[in-house]
């Protein structure tokens, strides 16, 4: 089955180590909440603000999840040191979009998928099905995996250790003009490629509509 999605807004960020333009002090004025945000959460909040997000349903994907929080927990366990409860609560894959829903007061449905290099496709397919009901959907795909041991695990040789893509979409019966060609971007984790490709193709398009094959 093919489902066509109109791209209403798109945004992306990437950095070799750390994205430094996430405007977190402006977007999250409450310091007591802001201090707990993970890198993924800050990227999610920033990207949502750039695509015209207005508390829509969210479909989020992350191949590696909350790496720093997970590493912190596992290191504590290995060293038999007391665990940080903040690190544990922040280590679930849903964390970035949970914080986004808290910051924006969004009580709509939020779901997270994680399929390693297939993550972009999982996000797109899940969102496409959810879009059939007529709702606008915010799609996010974020990887933020800078940590001390990253060189050992970075076997793809990815140079952008922080990156994220956001698409705001709704289903349409109009013909598609963007098709996924699986364009590779060696600087990014393969988990982001398809969504990044759609983002780039839609940026300069006046009326971007992508075909999603399920």
């Amino acid at each position: 089955m093919k489902i066509n999605l109109k791209i209403l807004g798109q945004a992306y960020v990437s950095a070799n180590e750390k994205c430094d333009t996430l405007e977190e002090k402006v977007l999250v004025s409450n310091m007591m909440l802001r201090r707990r945000l993970t890198r993924g959460a800050k990227i999610a909040i920033y990207l949502a603000s750039k695509v015209g997000y207005e508390n829509e349903k969210i479909v989020f994907g992350s191949a590696y999840g909350e790496v720093q929080a997970t590493v912190s927990v596992v290191e504590s366990i290995y060293q038999k040191k007391s665990l940080s409860p903040t690190a544990f609560q922040n280590s679930v894959h849903n964390t970035p979009v949970s914080y986004l829903s808290i910051v924006s007061g969004n009580t709509a449905e939020v779901t997270t998928v994680s399929d390693l290099h297939d993550t972009s496709l999982s996000v797109l397919k899940v969102a496409a099905v959810k879009a059939l009901k007529g709702d606008k959907i915010l799609l996010l795909n974020i990887d933020a995996f800078a940590f001390d041991g990253v060189d050992t695990l970075n076997r793809c040789g990815v140079s952008k250790l922080e990156s994220g893509v956001a698409l705001l979409v709704e289903m349409t019966t109009e013909d598609a003009n963007i098709y996924i060609e699986n364009i590779e971007d060696k600087a990014l984790s393969p988990s982001l490629w398809q969504m990044q490709e759609i983002c780039e193709k839609s940026i300069n398009h006046s009326h971007p509509i992508v075909e999603i094959e399920i």
């Binding site: 310091m31 007591m32 802001r34 201090r35 007391s82 665990l83 409860p85 903040t86």
Partner: protein, 83 residues
């Protein structure tokens, strides 16, 4: 002996209180609820910090009630019990 100054630095760093510096925290301001506004997760984080930094242990949250009242109370406790 540690000072309230260094306890404040530990709170700011350990609890991620960005935007605050030591002059923003009064020795006698309430740490939880109305004063500084720390929450129940901060209380647990504080227990972890005190264990890792000073070897101090609490059996349960009730034991922290009088200790976590203010920076001064916390400093007094650390100086009295530090291992």
């Amino acid at each position: 002996m540690i000072s309230t100054h260094s306890v404040k630095l530990q709170l700011i760093e350990g609890l991620g209180l960005e935007d605050l510096d030591i002059t923003d925290i009064d020795d006698n301001t309430a740490l939880f609820n109305d004063g500084l506004g720390l929450d129940s997760v901060d209380a647990i984080e504080l227990i972890v910090i005190l264990d890792n930094a000073y070897g101090l242990k609490f059996k349960n949250m009730d034991e922290t009630k009088d200790v976590f009242v203010s920076v001064q109370a916390l400093t007094n406790y650390i100086n009295a019990h530090e291992k």
